[in-house]
């Protein structure tokens, strides 16, 4: 009965219902887009940055403190049995022994360029750097021994192309000068300008020869099926790890990016709250008008025996109807926008150049859980905005209302 009255009232006062529906729809539309943007950024960090750096990183004790120097010591010995053991757990997707090092690249044109090198097994390189493998514009990605891949800017500066040899100069683990001359297998175009100019990927054997680190690496990164399995995996692994190895989780390695993400989340939440409060104030007024206009009606209903709770329910149900319709409209309008920008990420170009760890292309991401949250929020706003006018109406005594009509 109450449901029916509320529904009829919503239809009768269609202009007001429409206004509330409009406000809810606009708020939900904006919330969905804002949330889609944040989900996209979060996904970017969690999938790309975390996958590339590994969910778990094993380094020799003391290495992490000097990581900024890209030291060659302390390092770790690797063996097939160790790698097999690390990969023997069901949650492990890939085990990637690697060496990070600084180097001077020299081309046949006698141009030199300071670069950051990563030596890695070609078999896992494509999986690890899917982003760069897909961005190869010339040649192929790392696929064998004695190979390097570099960015387009590095290739331009060094005046080299695919197939040519590049001299890599560095100090080896004994501080002696050392050089190797691998072949350029491919050239990628990274959307991170610094990476495009300074990142060099080579096969692990080449790095070990250059740095005089046979069978040794500076880190082993482990990629899991899902990031939430990290702690569980570490629990199982820890008893078997030698004392000189320090495990570092992605939460420790990506702490600053995660902090930035949290900061953006808070900023977005504050802005969303402001938008919602302003929208809710408009809605409260609309409901209040509606209630004031129908006070005689409510007075009569109360006089013939309707309870306060029932009266509140009628007004709140009206809010609920408007909320449902507005939320659905807002989501119908917002989700395609999110899906479009998920498929067509925005390139922020130079605006993102100073952010390390992510490139400049950031898309939105559609996550059903987020859409459900937005839906719930839309309903809460509409219902919440109707609550005050409903309580106001229910507190009026029927005698007072009917007397004022006389």
């Amino acid at each position: 009965m109450i449901f029916k009255i509320a529904f009829r009232n919503s239809i009768k006062a269609w202009r007001r219902t429409l206004a509330v529906v409009g406000a809810v729809a606009v708020s939900v539309f904006l919330l969905e887009i804002g949330a889609g943007y944040m989900d996209g950024f979060r996904q970017k960090i969690y999938t790309e940055a975390v996958r590339e750096n590994g969910h778990l990183r094993l380094v020799a004790k003391g290495y992490a403190d000097k990581l900024d120097l890209l030291p060659l010591t302390p390092n770790m010995q690797i063996s097939d049995s160790l790698l097999e053991f690390l990969g023997s757990f069901p949650e492990v997707e890939a085990v990637r022994p690697a060496i990070r090092f600084g180097l001077l690249a020299n081309s046949a044109s006698d141009v030199s360029l300071e670069m950051l090198g990563l030596g890695i097994s070609p078999s896992v390189s494509r999986r690890m750097y899917q982003r760069l493998a897909n961005a190869v514009v010339e040649g192929d990605f790392l696929n064998g021994p004695d190979q390097v891949v570099i960015g387009t800017e590095a290739a331009r500066l060094l005046k080299v192309s695919v197939g040519e040899r590049l001299i890599l100069l560095s100090s080896d683990v004994n501080s002696g000068f050392s050089a190797v001359e691998p072949q350029i297998a491919g050239i990628f175009r990274s959307l991170n300008a610094e990476e495009d100019a300074q990142f060099l990927l080579c096969d692990l054997g080449t790095a070990q020869r250059l740095l005089n680190l046979p069978n040794r690496v500076t880190e082993i990164t482990i990629e899991l099926a899902h990031r939430e399995q990290t702690e569980n995996y570490l629990e199982k692994l820890r008893p078997h790890l030698p004392a000189y190895i320090e495990p570092r989780t992605w939460r420790q390695d990506q702490a600053s990016l995660i902090y930035l993400l949290k900061l953006s989340d808070v900023a977005m939440a504050v802005l969303a709250a402001i938008v919602l409060v302003v929208a809710a104030l408009g809605m409260i007024n609309t409901f209040l008008m509606s209630v004031l206009e129908r006070l005689p009606e409510f007075g009569t209903l109360r006089a013939i025996g309707m309870g306060r709770t029932q009266l509140v329910s009628i007004v709140v149900l009206q809010g609920f109807f408007s909320g449902v319709i507005g939320t659905v409209i807002g989501l119908i309008a917002g989700i395609p926008v999110v899906l479009y920008y998920q498929a067509h990420p925005i390139n922020y170009g130079e605006a993102m150049e100073s952010f390390k760890g992510v490139d400049s292309q950031i898309g939105m991401a559609f996550e059903p859980t987020t859409a459900l949250w937005v839906l719930a929020l839309g309903l809460v706003i509409a219902v919440g905005a109707s609550l005050y006018p409903a309580i106001y109406a229910s507190r009026k005594r029927p005698v007072e209302i009917l007397r004022s009509l006389a």
Partner: protein
């Protein structure tokens, strides 16, 4: 008549206390947010720009033609000849505070145990002291002296290398002719700017030392110019070009800080668009709320409006009275918003929000460790102006509708 209308409008607005409260609250929150956000925008970006100019770019930079395209490899073979003389010529311009020739080169610093890749800045100590802020950031030891060799190292690099003041470090680099060079240099000072990348990567040596070490006598890879004021840097660029054209035959490239700090400028532009959209949304929602309540209010007051019209009030006056109601609502919003925004702005101007230094390491832009606002009176004018515009737009349609109410129908509705 206008005063009577204004009194009527004020009375109508005050009569509907609840309605007015919610409208004024919505307008007030909007005004406060706009005041606060404008202050934060100015504060954070102005600070970022100032620090970028101080630590990275200066106001204007001069390079040899072709350097920009190759800058990522820090080329020493594309240099400005007779750089010190040109810097002194530039300093003759009244807008210029100082001009400092620099050699910017890649090198490696080592204490035998660890090696750190560094960016060497060979500078004229006196000119650099006026162009940058490094000399004020020296926390241990002292700033460079042209007559003494030595190196100024960032705090983070010192910590990473476990080095100490006075200790000799090995500096390895390559000359402009691509020959290797290695030399012992004592740590003369340690600086700390709070800009993590700089404190880890950059070292300073005297220009004289740079000329010998990199085999570039009299040359520099850049001349960095500090102006007396930041505004108008682009205009001084042409004057610098003129004076350089008269002083040398070499082709040089001159540009202002906006060119070299594109990441900061583009980032600021992207954020400005975001904030502009947010302001439009806030204004639209306020307009929606006011239009909605005023429409209902007009509908409710049809008999009253009919009576006023029957007593001789013209359509135009009814229209004006409703607009004045919007004006009164706008005024209320401005007062509420100015007080709320003032309190928030005061807090953000004085206390601010601290940012974790960990997060700053991820951003290669010199930012402060706090988000501080820099509010100006104009923020109140913009915030208040937008509140008034929202209120007036909000009553526009209901006012037009009220003015069109037919007198007889309106009076008939009033009969019970």
């Amino acid at each position: 008549m206008n005063f009577v209308l204004f009194r009527l409008a004020v009375r109508n607005v005050l009569k509907q206390k609840r309605r007015t409260f919610f409208n004024v609250l919505a307008l007030g929150i909007n005004t406060a947010m706009i005041i606060l956000l404008l202050g934060i925008l100015r504060g954070s970006y102005w600070l970022m720009i100032e620090r970028t100019i101080d630590l990275r770019t200066g106001h204007i930079q001069v390079h040899a033609e072709g350097y920009e395209a190759e800058k990522r490899r820090l080329p020493l073979d594309i240099a400005i000849h007779d750089a010190s003389r040109l810097a002194r010529r530039i300093e003759e311009l009244p807008e210029v505070k100082a001009a400092s020739p620099r050699i910017r080169a890649a090198a490696t610093l080592s204490n035998g145990r660890y090696r750190a890749p560094v960016l060497v800045m060979a500078v004229e100590p006196d000119a650099e002291a006026q162009v940058g802020v490094i000399q004020n950031s020296v926390v241990e030891g002292e700033w460079l002296d042209s007559l003494q060799s030595g190196i100024i190292v960032g705090k983070k690099a010192v910590d990473l290398l476990d080095a100490r003041l006075g200790e000799s470090l090995l500096l390895y680099g390559r000359t402009s002719q691509e020959a290797n060079n290695l030399i012992d240099v004592p740590v003369r000072g340690v600086f700390s700017t709070g800009f993590s990348e700089m404190d880890r990567m950059v070292v300073f040596v005297p220009l004289q030392f740079g000329w010998e070490f990199f085999d570039m006598p009299g040359e520099a890879t850049e001349i960095v110019i500090r102006l007396n004021r930041t505004l108008g840097a682009s205009k001084v660029v042409s004057r610098v070009k003129d004076i350089l054209a008269k002083s040398t035959d070499q082709k040089l490239h001159v540009a202002s800080w906006q060119y070299f700090a594109k990441d900061v400028v583009e980032g600021a532009k992207a954020d400005l668009i975001f904030y502009a959209i947010l302001f439009v949304i806030l204004v639209s929602l306020a307009v929606f709320g006011i239009t909605n309540t005023m429409t209902v209010s007009v509908f409710e007051r049809v008999p009253e409006i009919g009576a006023l019209r029957a007593l001789g009030m013209e359509r135009q006056s009814v229209h004006r009275m409703l607009l004045l109601e919007g004006f009164v609502l706008g005024l209320g919003g401005i007062v509420a918003g100015s007080i709320l925004g003032g309190l928030l702005a005061w807090w953000m101007n004085t206390k601010g929000i601290s940012i974790s230094t960990e997060a700053l390491e991820q951003v290669a832009i010199p930012m402060g460790d706090k988000f501080l606002a820099a509010s100006r009176f104009v923020d109140w004018i913009i915030g208040g102006g937008l509140a008034m515009i929202s209120a007036l737009i909000g009553v526009l349609w209901p006012a037009r509708r009220a003015a069109r109410v037919p007198v007889t129908a309106a009076l008939a509705r009033g009969v019970r």
